[in-house]
């Protein structure tokens, strides 16, 4: 065998620890590259499938489109596909077991619509003409109506009316409604489908037949565009040109959000930059890990290579040696890496699926797919980086002058002056620490970079999660409610409000009231605000009241006023807290209403005027206040007085907590609202949250996993660098020990050195993370009025973790110094130098 190859084999065998570290680094890099990429792809596919399943594979829906509009869309080059759904009508399902769902909705789907609107066939086949149909399995399972495959059934077709007004198909059932039949059709049941997700909480079940163009039923059109980036322009253009050819249009925001292209181009770009940066960071960290494993191997071997060069090893032979070493290590590391990747992937998918299933029975489940193209890609990436790294490291080591390499010590880099400064008095240990720091700081650059990166990511994650929690409007955790009713009206809807307050089987947790007012106090309103938002010298604002408990907490938490003032306010005094900033999204800035401590000329709808003492604040009450209009938060007592005076209220909100939020929401929907009610809206926060919770959890898991992978790889890269450098450091400490340095002082020096590195890493991470935090906050969250969040707890945790890791490292290092084998080790170290 070639002598140089034998040398490589022998070196790898002798330096077992170093070889193992290189192998592990490469295995880890390959495994994480493969498993993370596969996991992200699997998650994207599963979420995509779930969104398509629940909301359909289209971008925009035009309700009730005409044939002329269809003809145009079918020939529009920007439209990738057009799905058509005919509304044949409702059909009564009189023997339904579920009293809340007593209709069938009969729809005609085009062939593409069956495929792209999330229809899942569980039995039989899809209809081939308009005399065949498929039925929702819920008709059999939930409504308990016997319908069999191949059965021919007559369907009455018509609509619902209440007090001679036609009701929307989706409106909840009312007691006095009736069915009006227009026509009827007989169809053969050829298949059963899973209940379409759009049917949930509707008063009907679906029956689907094949779209028939010759029928003149109302038709919904679902469009998919080729280019998502021009979705707004294209849709608005279509909507303008064909304004009379449809009823309304709506975007499939869930699908578009998934495809990153939301409605704002600036957000698109920022999100793309964010995702791009995450990918680039991951690849960079992989490169760093692979590179550092070889770089450190060659630093250890510089003297060997100098000797080889001195006896005539050529550049070509050096290259061949490096390739051979790369080949030996990679031939082991790459298959093992892929194997570990498969295990990691399977474990992660299994764990994530279990976690998601624990959250909701209908949760997304990731489907495990081994993409061999990703495996090949990962292997090729690591292979190329490894070969380049080993070549570069070997080339760098061989380029050094033989005489200087053999004669010098590796730790002495271009050092031209003494460090201890003997002329000056001072503690020798401090001087030695200073010397070490100055000489070695550069060698720990990877460890330094790793520390800064990991801490920055951790702190950013903490801030990011806080913003997402805060931006969740219906913050169920913070306010502990799950159903919200919002009533808008001009008079005070006494009967409805009494009913709302007394809803049985529920627990009212919060009532909030809003009245609208105008203000013309031009002395105290800032000119800038008046110019921007004033109309004929008046600005609009809202007077808002919450429960005294909420108000009291809000005042105390934010130290807004003294106890005496608070008591005065709670007793109905004319004191208000002004949330006086309005965010202008076009200009991306806030406008302040006033900087004064009083606001006069507040005009109510009955013409009466108010003067208020003002306490300014820009802290929102999550889930309640907003920055759409200046708000004066007043006490419940004062609000009651004003409502009494006005005999009316603009907005009335009640929040409930319930054991069965679905039932409560349905009951609230069935309340008789009365004539004065302009708008009545029931929001089932629990259902809304539940829907988004699995995706949010999946995203959180992926984010934590991502940071963990980065931390793992950077940790390994740091370990390679630190272990190489420590070999030299250890030797120096041994020499100190020979001339009489006590272990206590060795430990103190190690501790001081670690502390200095750690404090620099921590400070850099704080600066980087807070700069990033500011960027992210101003880009994404300032516009929705959130507070800037400083992750204090995470900072403390990281500081504590850093100190703990430091203590462990110091114990390990001092153990190695104390238990050094002078008999064997000293000679070996000396011969190495």
């Amino acid at each position: 065998m070639n002598i140089l190859r034998r040398y490589i084999q022998q070196t790898l065998r002798t330096n077992k620890q170093r070889t193992a570290l290189s192998l592990l680094s490469l295995i880890l890099a390959t495994a994480l590259l493969f498993s993370v990429t596969s996991l992200v792809l699997a998650s994207y596919r599963s979420v995509n499938a779930s969104v398509v399943q629940s909301s359909g594979n289209y971008h925009v829906e035009f309700k009730n489109g005409t044939q002329e509009f269809v003809n145009y869309l079918e020939h529009n080059l920007k439209v990738e596909s057009l799905l058509k759904v005919q509304h044949l009508g409702l059909s009564p399902l009189n023997d339904s077991f579920n009293e809340e769902r007593t209709y069938l909705q009969v729809l005609g789907y085009s062939k593409e619509a069956f495929h792209d609107l999330g229809i899942v066939l569980t039995e039989g086949r899809l209809p081939e003409n308009d005399t065949e149909c498929v039925i929702s399995e819920a008709i059999i399972n939930e409504a308990k109506v016997a319908m069999d495959l191949q059965e021919e059934r007559y369907f009455q077709l018509g609509y619902r009316v209440s007090e001679e007004n036609r009701l929307n198909d989706e409106a909840p059932l009312t007691l006095n409604e009736r069915f009006v039949m227009e026509n009827g059709t007989t169809m053969k049941i050829v298949g059963i489908i899973s209940e379409p997700s759009m049917d949930v909480r509707k008063p009907y079940y679906s029956v689907l037949t094949l779209f028939n163009e010759s029928n003149a039923y109302p038709m919904d059109l679902y469009l998919r565009y080729h280019d998502l980036r021009t979705i707004n322009e294209t849709t608005e253009e279509l909507a303008d040109i064909f304004a009379d050819e449809y009823e309304s249009y709506a975007y499939n925001e869930q699908l578009m959000a998934l495809n990153i292209f939301s409605m704002t181009v600036s957000v698109d770009n920022h999100l793309l930059i964010f995702i791009g940066a995450s990918i680039v960071l991951f690849l960079l960290v992989t490169i760093l890990l692979v590179r550092s494993s070889f770089a450190n191997t060659y630093i250890n071997r510089e003297k060997h290579l100098a000797i080889l060069k001195s006896i005539g090893v050529t550049e070509r032979q050096r290259q061949s040696m490096a390739f051979y070493e790369g080949f030996l290590i990679l031939s082991l590391a790459l298959p093992l890496g892929i194997l570990l990747g498969v295990v990691l992937l399977q474990t992660s998918v299994h764990t994530i699926n279990q976690l998601l299933a624990a959250i909701s029975v209908n949760a997304i489940q990731l489907s495990l797919q081994h993409e061999w193209i990703i495996a090949i890609g990962s292997v090729l990436f690591v292979l190329v980086v490894a070969i380049l790294s080993v070549q570069h490291s070997a080339h760098k080591a061989m380029k050094k002058s033989v005489s200087s390499t053999l004669h010098s010590n590796d730790e002495v880099h271009n050092m031209q002056r003494s460090y201890l400064n003997l002329e000056k008095k001072g503690n020798i240990y401090l001087k030695l620490i200073g010397k070490h720091i100055r000489q070695n700081f550069k060698d720990y650059d990877i460890a330094f970079l790793s520390g800064v990166l990991i801490m920055t990511l951790g702190l950013m994650l903490s801030s990011g999660m806080a913003y997402f929690r805060e931006s969740d409007y219906l913050d169920i955790n913070e306010h502990n409610y799950d159903v919200q009713v919002k009533v808008e009206n001009w008079t005070y809807p006494t009967a409805l409000m009494t009913q709302l307050k007394q809803m049985e089987a529920s627990n009212t947790v919060l009532i909030s009231e809003v009245i609208e007012a105008q203000c013309n106090d031009n002395e105290n309103i800032l000119d800038e605000y008046l110019q921007q938002y004033g109309e004929e010298g008046f600005v609009s604002l809202q007077l808002v009241s919450y429960d005294d408990r909420i108000l009291k907490n809000y005042i105390e938490e934010n130290s807004l006023m003294s106890r005496a003032e608070m008591n005065e306010m709670l007793e109905g005094g004319n004191i208000a807290i002004l949330l006086g900033q309005v965010y202008n999204s076009a200009e991306q800035r806030f406008y302040d209403l006033s900087e004064s401590d009083a606001l006069n000329g507040i005009l109510l709808e009955n013409g009466s005027q108010l003067a208020m003492k003002i306490v300014e604040s820009d802290v929102l009450i999550t889930g309640l206040s907003s920055r759409e209009m200046p708000q004066l938060i007043i006490s419940r007592t004062l609000m009651n007085q004003l409502v009494e005076e006005l005999k009316g209220i603009r907005t009335f909100m009640v929040h409930y907590q319930s054991n069965d939020s679905n039932r409560l929401a349905r009951d609230l929907n069935l309340l008789v609202q009365g004539e004065s009610v302009l708008d009545y809206d029931v929001v089932n926060a629990n259902a809304t949250l539940q829907q988004g919770k699995t995706i949010t959890t999946l995203l959180q898991l992926l984010t934590y996993g991502y940071i963990l992978c980065i931390a793992l790889m950077m940790g390994f890269a740091s370990m390679c660098a630190v272990s190489t450098n420590f070999e030299y450091r250890k030797y120096e400490f041994i020499l100190y020990r020979i001339v009489g340095m006590r272990m206590k002082n060795v430990r103190r020096m190690l501790a001081a050195e670690y502390l200095l590195y750690f404090v620099s890493v921590f400070a850099c991470a704080l600066i980087c993370s807070q700069l990033l935090n500011m960027f992210v906050y101003h880009t994404f969250f300032a516009s929705i009025g959130l507070k800037f969040f400083v992750p204090r707890n995470m900072m403390l945790i990281m500081f504590g973790a850093g100190i703990l890791i430091g203590m462990l490292l110091i114990l390990f290092a001092s153990y190695k110094v104390k238990h050094f084998s002078y008999h064997q080790g000293l000679k070996n170290e000396i011969s190495l130098l």
Binding site: H407, S408, N409, E411, V412, M415, S418, Y419, L420, L422, I428, K435, Q439, E732, L735, Y736, R737, I738, V739, G740, M741, R742, M743, K744, N745, K818, S821, Y822, H823, L826, K827, I830, S831, L833
Partner: protein, 224 residues
């Protein structure tokens, strides 16, 4: 007056499944001011004995008494301080701290003990060793002979009662070897220092007051 007393020293190294008996019942007595040489083949246990006498390694059994102090009854800290004050070490491969200058290397034992530098003594030593022009150099800038002189200066700077030299000339040419040995002898006489030197060169050993031969872990006095 007896300075060093080594009694029944045994040292066993375990390597994989093999036991190496490096020292077997070694006994040695050195008087104050004496120059003693230990010679023997490579691997006979000379360096092990030296490391144990220096308190750098611990024996499996036996005792080392230096200047009426039993070394292994001391704690690690006490032993380190004892070594710092009482022992000077010279190695074949110099063992200078590569990142410190010559002057810093020489003064290190004093600095670690927070002791003032005795300038006249320092000048005397560096003049005797002919390294007065190299004080600001780094070890790697010196020749082997010069580095060994620096190591000797470091071993003597704190007035040790015992200097342990582990093949101090093993890495030097004959000219330097002679100079170094002469210097060691001269300095030991001038400063009343006891020297225990290990060498495998019989000619060098012959310059000592007494010679011991180490053979497979056993120490025997050489009789001419």
């Amino acid at each position: 007056m007896e300075l060093l007393n080594v009694k029944n020293l045994n040292k066993i190294y375990r390597k994989k499944h093999q036991e190496i008996h490096a020292l077997k019942d070694v006994n040695l007595t050195v008087k104050k001011g004496e120059f003693v040489a230990i010679t023997g083949e490579s691997g006979s246990g000379k360096s092990t004995l030296l490391h144990i006498i220096a308190g750098l390694e611990t024996p499996n059994s036996g005792e080392v008494i230096l200047d009426k102090t039993s070394l292994f009854s001391l704690s690690d800290d006490q032993l380190t301080i004892f070594r710092r004050r009482q022992i000077g070490m010279v190695y074949q491969f110099y063992n200078l701290i590569p990142t410190l200058t010559v002057k810093e290397n020489i003064l290190l034992p004093l600095l670690l003990d927070n002791k003032e530098v005795e300038q006249s003594y320092l000048n005397q030593i560096i003049a005797n060793l002919h390294i007065e022009h190299e004080l600001d150099s780094f070890p790697y800038e010196l020749s082997g002979g010069q580095q060994q002189r620096v190591a000797i200066a470091r071993a003597l700077i704190h007035h040790p009662t015992l200097v342990l030299a582990d093949e101090p000339t093993g890495n030097l040419d004959s000219m330097n070897t002679k100079e170094i040995i002469d210097l060691i002898k001269l300095l030991s006489i001038r400063h009343d220092t006891t020297i225990l030197m290990i060498t495998h060169d019989m000619d060098i050993a012959m310059q000592a007051d007494r010679i011991y031969i180490m053979d497979e872990g056993r120490l025997n006095q050489f009789e001419e």
